[in-house]
Amino acid sequence: MIRITSARLAAVAAGAALAAVAATAGGAAAHGAAGPVKIGISLSLSGDFSDSGKAARRGYNLWAKIVNAHGGLLGRKVQLLVRDDTSSPTQARTNYESFITKDHVDLVFGPFSTLLSAPSAVIANRYGYAFVEPAGGGPAVFQEKLHNVFFTQPAPVLQSGDVFARFLLSLPRSQRPKTAAYPSLDDPFASPIADRVRGILQRAGVKTRYKTIYPSETTDMTPIVQKVASKHPDAVIGGTQNGDAYAQVKAMVQLKFSPKFLFLTNGPNDPAEFPSKVGARNVNGIFSTGDWFPQERSPGNAAFVKAYLKTYGGSRFTIDPTSAEAYAAGQVIQTVTRKLHSLDNKKIIAKLHTGSWPTVEGVLRWNSIGEPQGSDLLVEWIHGRLYPVFPKSVALHKPLVPKPGWGK
């Protein structure tokens, strides 16, 4: 382990030295050019991540449109170069190398998903580019300890369940759950989150009655939920993605098992889909977490939501948070280039490691490897609507505990 770490450090150091050379070269080109500011973005427009990829594209496009309407970056128009990576990391890596060495873009923004961001960040780092990225918040991205990464969400994905643990521990002792079960999806953005919550709760004395990890192709949740129900836990805390979260809730309804607390990391946080998937009568009292909500009072959010609805239509509850995350990446670059009067990637990287940066995702701050230092929001379904309920500073409704039974 140690040997690898030191090898990595050496590699990073070498990379940084080379990055300096590349950055000065790139910077010179940028200053001399009078054309548009070119920004390269690899996105998954086909394949597994394509829905989110397209959501990210909407956010990026909206940002570019607004910036250009206000005179662009440093007086130059912004031009986004978007290329499909077919949800493949090999193609994402290829796209970034091509943006940098063929199209000679001024800046790059991140793709969708940690799984594509991790190899892409390495390439960006190698060529000295700042890697402001909206959707790569998993440990793989930070594990490489790259100095050029900036994740534009309030907290690393792994910590997104911490807010629920903090909420439970904020309750009076009599109301807290005494036992918990943790059925989680084998997904880098699901089970590790539940594991962290379990760690925190166990230390606080909440007993673990059951934990299991199921694979992503598990379409039948009944046996797992049955097992959970047989242990009679007070709280069920699932690291989930949307599909399996719906299946878990459906199985619980079928088995008439309603725990006092139900927290699922993804699924219930989709205000448009969740009620239609599990039945509108079954949503109340279910907790989830998120980095962004349409009603949030974060910098520029009201304007973002308004512009989004004007451009793409729909209701504010159908806006994918990924669009907001991508928009936030744009906001960060806009602010930092205005402050620096420069598109120099080296200066951008140095500057972003200092101070705090207002975005629709909240005011962001990063440590030296790009992990944001904030906290996600806890949301809950109350009277058929989704509200941020914790931390108190951002809550729009009082939390509802314990969870009412199904159909109430």
């Binding site: 086909s46 394949g47 597994d48 991540f49 394509s50 829905d51 084998d186 299991t212 990890i213 199921y214 694979p215 192709e217 598990t218 379409t219 039948d220 009944t222 046996p223 797992i224 049955q226 097992k227 047989s230 949307n242 599909g243 399996d244 719906y246 299946a247 459906k250 309804v253 079928q254 088995l255 008439k256 889909e273 239609s276 998937k277 039945g279 079954n282």
Partner: protein, 291 residues
Amino acid sequence: MHEVVQALILGLLTGGVYALMASGLTLVFGIMRVINVAQGALVILAAYLSYTLFSHFHVDPFLSILVVTPAMFVLGVAVQLLFVRTLRGPDASELSLLVTWALALGIEGVLSVVFKTTYRATNPSYADHSWDILGYRVSVVRVLAFGASALLLGLLSLLLTRTRFGRSVRATVQNPTAATLLGVDADRVRTLSFGLGVSMAAAAGAVYGVLYPFNPGSHYDLISRLLSIVVLGGLGSLGGAVVAALAMGSIEAVVAVEISPTWAAFSFFVVLIAFLLVRPQGIFGLRERTL
């Protein structure tokens, strides 16, 4: 013990639906020596059709079988005439494997453009109901799904044993050359059977959408299971496919509860490999000359 029995009930009910999907696959192989790798994708396509009928026109998913199945029958016939039939020569079987794979990719591609990649599920009002039988919880949709599958499999077996068409099919399976000499129009039998095989996928797909959330990529997992089922059952054997599907359902359900859900699917593959070690031709497969 209670847990295991409960898992077994669930596994057998699930296995029934898989049996229906696999029946089409094994039937087509028996007649044409063609493995339709697109069977999984066709199941998902049918699930989307049924989902659309339900969400736009409020057609009950089980009733939608009556609409989806004939439509997909026509599609199956078209696929056979356009793609599969054109393959000739000694490699035709192997080529058909790749052609149907290309078809599966095409279906996945079209579905992900039309329906996006978010998971969908057909949710009729009774989706959450369940019965309590002797202390075991049995979900209504699963019983309905099993019932529908059993009914269709019964109809299929009647069609194969009691009708003229069925006799020509069985004759073609046993000896294509002799069947042709006896006046069976082999081309027609093949085309109709391919359509029939796809119809089975269609009916199962409508049911699948009620049981499981699905997205365009779901067909990879589905086809790997279906292929394992038909190989375990013996390629071309309808009865074998049914037995193997029920075995798969119960093995996976029991392993999921007793060991871990992550090893459930794996356990079935291990059973398959171990079984092939003893009986390379599968449960009911005939020991044929290597083709």
